[in-house]
Amino acid sequence: MTHEGPPLETLLHRLAETPAEFLDEPKIGSKGRVHVDSVVADLLRLHGAAPTPSEMAAFTGKDASRDRNRLAVTLLLTWLAADEWFIKHRFNAATLLPLLEGTARELAEQTVAGAFLTDPDRSEEITRITLARLDFRPEGESSAQAQDRLTSLSATERARVIAAARAAELRARAIREALAKKAAEESADKYTRE
């Protein structure tokens, strides 16, 4: 967060206005329509970088259940990184690719892509992370202020994810126990059995 970047509101507004093409289904196997590798390659070219096939391989998902959310987050990050302000600063592939791959993966593990548009805190988080990974902070904030706010947002989300995971585990255990009870094992009347 060494450098001062654009106003946070500008990027939040841009995120809110994400075009439908960037919200469409990532192409994975026979499913989806958006070739995320092509979108990423276009972004790199906008920044003056030359994408290579091996670099783009990370953006062609193989398993929809694993890659769908990650690639959907990549599309959002790509849209943010295509903001005029960033393009003017021209980032190289070594700076952009970790954001679009690693950061997307980290965010996708905790949050479903749609939430970055519908939940104000998540919108702010993805916007601030984009700035931070490109070594910028929002206009008018000190590095410490920017770091504090991002840490707070991320910590809140982590706490929510941990609480949700705990609740899901308790619920799964309750279901497994309920299904193993003697009453459940007796089942109930059906006119036919399979």
Partner: protein, 453 residues
């Protein structure tokens, strides 16, 4: 206090009346009754009896009028609620804009973690389980509910109405005998509250479950059940008994019912024999109707697709994997669930029909000329026979072994049929054998099929 108390009769029959109790006693204490090994019941609370009756009326009245490319109106809302309420889907975010982009699931997914497919909104307190055999290598423990189990009857009634039959059994009468024929079988008696406590007996024809094997026919004759349900194996055994009672219908599930056996059952019992396509994951899905050319769908809130291996829906008439969305088990809403069974869809009539339904993926067999035939050709060729169950295996050297649970006297005819399909000079073993362990994988081969390798 015991955390897992033994269920009581009040748990099993919450609405039981003295008349219902008398019927239970009649079923259990009958001088020719089998040795009932287990206990179970309808478990329906008073308000649930009302709910199931109302559901039956809805199912009876609803049309199944969706078409290829015109999915049912409820599909979008069902998909959205499943993505919101079911952990497996919620983890994936919002539903894809196009239904076809939803990733299918299979038995293996349910087998791995059933809890993640149960909606968060369903209370766990009254859950029951349905267990299924593991012929595909994935035994299942499925979440369900007494209301779901009782709701099966709505679809049976819909199927029976196609044959002009309205179930009438009520208080003091036996509505159904579920007939099994296995070494070990879950057996018990109950009453059906939605049928004014008509009786239900689940019996096993295996002689070990009877004090005297001759009691089997006597008991069935005395019960005068309105309907018998079972599978081709138990019905084949039923044919060997001197039963004189004529039920109003027979419902066959679990495995392929060949027209030959169906005809013999119809002649013997002078009633319609319905072949139901049904599974624990989804309940009764379709009923065979020769006039419609296949299995007619039964569930108004079940959307059926035929998919290729890449999850792409195939056009009407093309064979692929039967894939289900929707259903009536609110503990297990299905979203593009691959059944492992194969068929084509036909929309030429008023309702969608599954044509050429076959369990499990197709298997091809090499003929003596070097060409390959699909297992469905063998099934078709066997149609005139009264075979309750069979398996076909081709060994790596091309030898075909055909095992069946029919009469020994069929061996010569079977040999001729198989030779005509597989070619002159085919090395062939035809063996009669009892299959008393339930479902088997019917078609297998050790040969590498050039179409898939």
């Amino acid at each position: 206090m015991d955390a897992d108390p033994q269920p009581t009769d009040l748990d099993r029959y919450p609405t039981l009346t003295p008349a219902g109790q008398r019927l239970l006693s009649f079923l259990k204490e009958h001088p020719h009754a089998p040795i009932y090994r287990n206990e179970s019941g309808n478990r329906l609370l008073p308000e649930e009896v009302t709910r199931v009756r109302s559901f039956e009326s809805e199912v009876a009245a609803a049309a199944i009028d969706w078409r290829a490319g015109e999915p049912p109106r409820w599909l979008e809302e069902f998909t959205a609620s499943t993505y919101a309420d079911v952990p497996h889907y919620r983890r994936q975010g919002t539903p894809p804009a196009r239904f076809e982009d939803i990733l299918s699931i299979s038995r293996a997914d349910l087998s791995r973690d059933i809890a993640s497919f149960v909606p968060d909104s369903v209370p766990v307190e009254r859950m029951i389980n349905f267990r299924t055999s593991g012929t595909s290598g994935h035994p299942l423990l499925l979440a369900s509910h007494p209301v779901v189990a009782a709701s099966y009857l709505a679809f049976h009634k819909r199927a029976l109405r196609r044959h002009g039959i309205t179930l009438l059994a009520g208080a003091g009468e036996v509505g159904v005998v579920l007939i099994g024929h296995q070494k070990k079988c879950f057996t018990y008696v109950s009453v059906t509250p939605t049928m004014n406590e008509a009786g239900l007996a689940k019996i096993n024809l295996h002689p070990d479950d009877w004090r005297d094997p001759e009691d089997r026919a006597k008991y069935l004759d005395d019960l005068k059940a309105e309907v018998y349900t079972g599978d081709p194996i138990s019905f084949a055994e039923l044919l060997t008994l001197p039963v004189t009672w004529r039920p109003r219908a027979l419902l066959s599930t679990s495995m392929t019912l060949l027209p030959g056996l169906r005809q013999r059952l119809e002649e013997r019992f002078q009633c319609p024999v319905l072949d139901l396509y049904s599974m624990n994951e989804a309940g009764p899905i379709a009923v065979a109707d020769p006039a419609a050319g296949g299995h007619v769908l039964l569930q108004p809130r079940m959307y059926v697709e035929i998919l290729d291996e890449e999850d792409r829906p195939l056009p009407p008439g093309e064979r692929g994997e039967v894939t289900l969305t929707g259903g009536f088990n609110f503990c297990l809403p299905l979203l593009r669930y691959r059944t492992g069974d194969h068929a084509a869809l036909d929309f030429s009539g008023p309702e969608p029909v599954l044509v050429g339904l076959q369990g499990r993926p197709p298997v091809r067999y090499r003929t003596t000329s070097g060409s390959w035939i699909n297992n469905i050709e063998i099934t078709h060729a066997l149609r005139p026979l009264a075979l309750p169950q069979w398996t076909v295996h081709q060994a790596a050297d091309g030898t075909v072994t055909f095992r069946h649970a029919g009469m020994d006297s069929l061996n010569t005819q079977l040999r001729q049929i198989l030779q005509s399909i597989l070619g002159d000079g085919q090395r062939l073993h035809v063996e009669q054998q009892a299959f008393l362990d339930g479902k088997v994988i019917q078609y297998t081969s050790d040969l590498a099929d050039p179409a898939t390798t």
